[in-house]
């Protein structure tokens, strides 16, 4: 069978994360791992830097508005051992949602986090250039939120 980007063994990774950063894993299914926002940076650096995990490629990052809370979704991939893991962080505060930025670990997150800020309104702290990426400066509101009416 040719190598498949099989979803990473989340159980194994979740236990390892729990060992290294206690209390970081919020929820685990065999598709994704959800972590607490404040532990996101630590978890991400563990995923990236531990040699045998080696998630060195951030595939994409996006956010979903579940109208009671926001969910930031990252997909990190390990090119070497062809594993792909979906990492989630839940953010309950709707007035001023803030999540630590991962541009320190993966430069690819820069533009995608700016897009999330622009369309969803979630601010990323210590992001080098936290500005809107698509819409113009005077645009009020964030279009992809559920409460943003189209017309």
């Amino acid at each position: 069978m040719p190598r498949m980007t099989n979803p990473a063994p989340t159980q194994e990774i979740a236990d390892r994360l729990e060992r290294e950063i206690p209390g970081s894993v919020a929820e685990r299914t065999d598709q994704h791992i959800a972590v607490k926002p404040e532990a996101l940076l630590a978890v991400a650096s563990v995923l990236k830097n531990t040699p045998e995990l080696d998630f060195d490629y951030l595939n994409w990052a996006t956010a979903v508005d579940y109208s009671s809370h926001f969910m930031i979704v990252y997909n990190v991939v390990s090119l070497k051992n062809n594993l792909s893991l979906i990492l989630k962080a839940r953010c309950d505060n709707r007035q001023d949602p803030v999540v630590p930025s991962l541009t320190g670990l993966w430069k690819g997150a820069n533009l995608q986090e700016r897009e999330i800020f622009d369309l969803m309104g979630i601010r990323f702290e210590n992001h080098p250039n936290m500005k809107r990426v698509f819409l113009w400066d005077g645009f009020t509101g964030h279009p992809l939120r559920k409460d943003f009416a189209l017309k």
Partner: protein
């Protein structure tokens, strides 16, 4: 940063370029809500034109329509149909439009091909006004005509004629190169009927901010 470089946008003069651009876009979004009437007043009533004027008209109109330089104002998917029309199979240079000029100074016809967003609207109007008369506009594709598929999106201008006066509308998404060529033919008929006696400007300058 030099001051004279800053364009005075209505009452607001802002140093930060992005804020200035944002202010201009918001200003346009509030003011440009009524479509500008298509500049074809000369086609309705027949004109009292003596022999000299008509012969001069035919010469001038023939020379204008025989060598129109289009401005490659490609925005989205229609841009590639426009380039395919300019390529060797559907050769637009059979109709005198040999080269697509990048700068508005050397262009007579602006083919707006693709979706016009509000962020691009000030640039479109500025480029239109920087073109020398006589100038014409073809709105190519349903996005340019009425916002098309993205009509009720928050960032799309529902129709280019809110910003610039449009002479010919070419429907389609994207319109086939043949329909763009038929649009060019329609423009020729329009230019043929222009007259210096009326002496109106084909493209009245739009609202200056």
């Amino acid at each position: 940063m030099g001051i004279e470089g800053i364009q005075k946008i209505g009452p607001i003069t802002v140093s930060d370029p992005d804020k200035a651009e944002g202010a201009e876009i918001e200003l346009m979004r509030r003011t440009c809500t009524e479509p500008i009437s298509d500049p074809d007043r000369w086609t309705e009533e027949d004109l009292r034109r003596n022999l000299l004027v008509t012969s001069l008209d035919t010469v001038i109109n023939w020379s204008r329509r025989a060598s129109i330089f289009p401005l490659n104002f490609g925005l989205a998917c229609c841009a590639f149909e426009m380039i395919a029309t300019a390529a060797s199979r559907f050769d637009i240079s059979r109709f005198g439009m040999e080269i697509f000029r990048p700068s508005p100074r050397q262009a007579d016809l602006m083919i707006v091909s693709g979706t016009l967003t509000w962020k691009m609207a000030p640039a479109l109007r500025r480029i239109y006004q920087q073109m020398a008369e006589p100038k014409w506009v073809i709105a190519m594709g349903s996005c340019a005509i009425s916002g098309g598929l993205f009509h009720n999106s928050y960032s799309v201008v529902p129709g280019v004629n809110l910003i610039v006066p449009v002479d010919v509308y070419v429907p389609g998404c994207p319109p086939r190169p043949e329909s763009l060529l038929s649009g060019v033919q329609a423009l020729y008929q329009k230019i043929k009927r222009q007259s210096i006696a009326k002496n109106d400007k084909p493209g009245p300058d739009t609202r200056d901010s």
